[in-house]
Symmetry: C2
Subunit: 356 residues, 2 copies
């Protein structure tokens, strides 16, 4: 704390990201990164963009990349906004659509950045307790005073809503913006993008960090009604004219253009997830049904924090959240099959009566 | 306007960056980009970073790059904050140090993004008229209720304050943060970084976009007291955990490590600026004394807007600001010597009695 800090700064409670160990010799299943590299086309595109042109600003409108994304999702480019990772898009969305003094809603167990944004931007919020099985109580999100935000699939549970359930929440808030945070949608959920032309209050946010293996490139995007997108552009152009660098623009475009690679990778992860879920169930774990690239799991005989610590000692990083209702769970990112086998093997040793 | 826009969004008045023509066949002297490419080491570093590791998040603390910058400026790495271009650093600084309801001060003729931030973050401000010769009236910045921000050298005038003058403004505001925006400092000004260990209220912001030819990479940074830097980190970590991508981190580091190249480029630009200023004076232009990579110039017989338009017709882009006090000026970025010769030649044709 310093006397020079604004009241806004004083009330912040910053987000704490998962550990990023410097040691590359670990099995890293803690921050939902993709175990497979990005498409080889991405690397080529970046190498081409690493030219003398770096001396020039990028195009502030990002027109070409917006067009690529628009074509993929069959929307108009005026319905696409691109940001420096989906976290930036979320931050701009809080600024653009949530009014201080009006209470927004999000689930109690969810992406822990939402309350952080709320503190920063002075947004009042009410958390809606998820059901015992971690599903969302749909009707509790209707008629929210200030708007609604939730991830689909939810994080860190992995549970997904059907498109009909999502639509019912959007429909239940005709005068307020409903933001669907689809960071993990490509691993089995149904995207709400197909609803944007029918609901002017719907904003869908996605990222290239997970299914497109580009966490290191920082590109996220929003799709919605052109008036919502215009609003995001106004915020962005009041904040930073050029948020995406030339290399990220080139890499993101190449990633979208290699659909075959994208399909192959996401199917492989879905397949590994299902096999891992089965193995963990066999070991006696309660495995929350997941449509994401991670599993939230709990074991009746193993303390979750201890499991996290013991796995870390074996150089396997998973994520533990010391938070109400999920204190006895760990979240495990889906890695390559060999990594998951190692995880299962080590975990087995830590369960009483199972250690060999 | 849309019924879904927050009051914050409704009051924004977004910044309008200079034109970025798609046509590469123009002489582009309108957005203060560096005419020389970045160091060849930057390209190599980026190509190496464009690896499979793009699937992983960057390090959220940016420790290595902060260390590189700290060593260059002889400060501790806890005194260095890195952002996605200096515009993002400025935005975070407005949030962190300027209190809504308290009036900050900046010059009337200055970087036109400051009032944009002020609108977005609800910061009250008072503009201080610069003197007739565009120098800053130093004492008018003392005892500012909410803090002070100004560029040194100033933009779009190019006029610089001496280190003593800067210090006197910092000293004149012991209880409020004074932000020196040194985007153009490497072209002849005296940096206030050497004062940061003596003044806990001083924040100096620089960028790699100008003197290091990396406008396309989006990296800026702030140097100040560690408590100010901690404040910026809290804002950033309440906004976006990973603001700088892996490629930008690698490229920025390489740029700082090639000091010989940096020195060569900035000296070349200073040299070209002085020659251009002389040529324009000879043509009858009033040339504001500049320590930046641009010149603000006016001609008694030529309408500035017309000059801008006519040069554009000749595929030479300069910047015209339709704003009080500088309506009869154009801002010309310093390009390569050949580009400036072409500019002089075309300009000559547009001056009455000179178009031989």
């Amino acid at each position: 704390m310093s006397k020079f800090w604004s009241s806004r700064l004083q009330r912040t409670e910053p987000y704490v990201p998962g550990e990023q160990p410097n040691d590359t010799n670990v099995i890293k299943l803690n921050t939902n990164e993709n175990p497979y590299p990005p498409s080889p086309e991405v690397q080529k595109a970046i190498q081409q963009a690493a030219s003398e042109d770096l001396r020039l600003y990028p195009t502030p409108t990002l027109q070409e990349l917006r067009q690529t994304i628009a074509e993929k999702f069959q929307v108009h480019q005026d319905q696409v906004f691109i940001g420096n990772g989906s976290d930036e898009v979320l931050a701009f969305s809080f600024m653009a659509f949530f009014e201080p003094g009006e209470t927004i809603r999000f689930p109690d167990i969810t992406y822990s950045f939402y309350p952080v944004y709320a503190k920063l931007f002075n947004t009042d919020y009410k958390v809606i307790p998820v059901n015992e099985d971690f599903s969302l109580p749909i009707e509790s999100f209707y008629d929210a005073e200030g708007g609604v935000i939730f991830p689909n699939p939810n994080a860190p549970t992995g549970r997904a809503l059907s498109l009909l359930e999502v639509e019912s929440i959007v429909n239940g808030n005709p005068n307020k913006v409903v933001i669907i945070d689809e960071a993990y949608i490509d691993f089995g959920g149904q995207s709400a993008v197909q609803l944007v032309n029918r609901y002017e209050n719907l904003l869908v946010i996605q990222t290239l960090s997970k299914s497109r293996s580009l966490a290191g490139l920082r590109v996220g995007f929003a799709i919605g009604n052109s008036q919502l997108i215009e609003g995001l552009n106004r915020i962005k152009n009041s904040f930073n004219s050029y948020t995406i660098d030339r290399l990220a623009i080139a890499g993101a475009k190449a990633a979208f253009e290699d659909e075959a690679y994208f399909e192959k990778v996401r199917k492989r992860i879905i397949d590994t997830r299902e096999k891992t879920a089965e193995s963990l169930s066999t070991l006696g774990f309660d495995v929350v049904e997941s449509k994401a690239n991670f599993l939230l799991v709990s074991h009746p005989q193993v303390d979750a924090e201890q499991l996290y610590t013991q796995l870390k000692e074996q150089n396997i990083y998973v994520r533990y959240f010391n938070k109400p209702r999920i204190q006895q769970y760990v979240r495990i990112t889906i890695g390559k099959p060999g990594e998951m086998e190692k995880l299962i093997k080590e975990t087995k040793h830590l369960i009483p009566n199972m250690a060999n």
